[in-house]
């Protein structure tokens, strides 16, 4: 029984964060899978993984191949790879100038449903954009975050053993010409944009830190940098 007059206190979850920097998409996915297993087996805390990838088109569970508009030869000529990935959603693009955040979290610790969890990830982006004077919007029936009618952040999750994978990608200053190669997320009636196109050019590390700060507020979590994760036999500093 609770002591009279004492309010119930929800304990905040500790969430580690790891910035992989510029990293090959496949290597980053392997690391994410490894940390996901450690997380659902409860040998590590929940974790946010930040990364910047080489140009790659990723195809989620609901991808329509017709949404890749360029032939393989043209993609190869532009240095863009294609990957089928184990996440929800359609065709997406990752590349330099974009911040990709994988949310490896026991979602029930934060929200009652996976969809509410996804909405909370969007809320982090909306608050981040607000700190740069940009109004981030949700559009009814469409996932992700928009500035006006243009998508600036895409979301997609996988859920295994009640722990999420994948998450959100935010366009800071990517090569927007690469978006001509796809119909992003199958949305032909909206465009894509970036912080740079909206006149903001913050450094990547600053955007990451603003994300972490807003994540802490929205998820009522305590982010701490990961210091002890070994990659290829080396200890990597977060």
């Amino acid at each position: 029984m609770r002591a009279k007059g004492r309010a119930a206190v929800k304990l905040a979850n500790t969430v580690e964060w790891l910035d992989l920097g510029e990293i090959n998409y496949d290597d980053a996915l392997s690391i994410q899978c490894e940390l996901h297993e450690a997380c659902w087996r409860n040998t590590r805390p929940d974790v946010l993984i930040f990364q910047r990838n080489e140009p790659v088109i990723t195809c989620g569970a609901d991808s329509d191949q017709d949404h890749i508009l360029w032939e393989d030869e043209r993609l190869q000529g532009a240095g863009i790879k294609k990957r089928a990935v184990p996440r929800g959603g359609g065709v997406s693009y990752h590349g330099p100038g974009q911040m990709v955040v994988s949310t490896v979290l026991h979602f029930l610790r934060y929200r009652k449903t996976a969809h509410l969890f996804l909405r909370a990830v969007e809320e982090v982006i909306i608050r981040l954009l607000n700190s740069y004077g940009i109004e981030g919007l949700r559009i009814e029936g469409k996932s992700g975050v928009f500035a006006g009618n243009d998508k600036i952040a895409a979301v997609g999750l996988a859920l295994s053993h009640l722990v999420t994978m994948h998450g959100v990608s935010l366009n800071i200053c990517p090569d927007m010409n690469h978006y001509d190669a796809i119909i992003a997320c199958g949305l032909s009636d909206t465009g894509v944009t970036s912080l740079e196109l909206l006149g903001r050019t913050p450094p990547y590390d600053e955007v990451r830190d603003v994300f972490i700060s807003n994540f802490a507020d929205v998820f009522e979590a305590i982010p701490v940098p990961m210091k002890d994760y070994g990659i290829q036999g080396k200890t990597r500093d977060a």
């Binding site: 989620g60 969809h115 996804l118 996988a158």
Partner: protein, 79 residues
């Protein structure tokens, strides 16, 4: 031997069904508890369906491409 039901997990309150994308096992396969035996998806979320026990796959009760209800039994494991 007892048969243990594999039910579609209640992962998303409000989402009443998911699309069964792919079986990763066939009848007669040995599985361990927590092995992923099927992939499903709903809007923007891909969901793994795991075996609740060690045993042998005794029945697959839904087809790839079916929409299956949350809580529906889609397989049985003989343990």
């Amino acid at each position: 031997m007892a048969r243990i039901a594999v039910n579609v997990p209640d992962f998303a309150e409000g989402a009443k069904s998911v699309k069964l994308r792919q079986w990763l096992v066939k009848i007669g396969d040995d599985v361990a508890k927590d092995d992923v035996i099927a992939e499903a998806s709903t809007d923007k979320i891909r969901v793994d369906i795991e075996s609740p026990a060690d045993g042998k796959v005794a029945a697959l009760l839904a087809e790839e491409g079916d929409r299956v209800e949350v809580g529906q039994t889609i397989a049985e494991i003989e343990g």
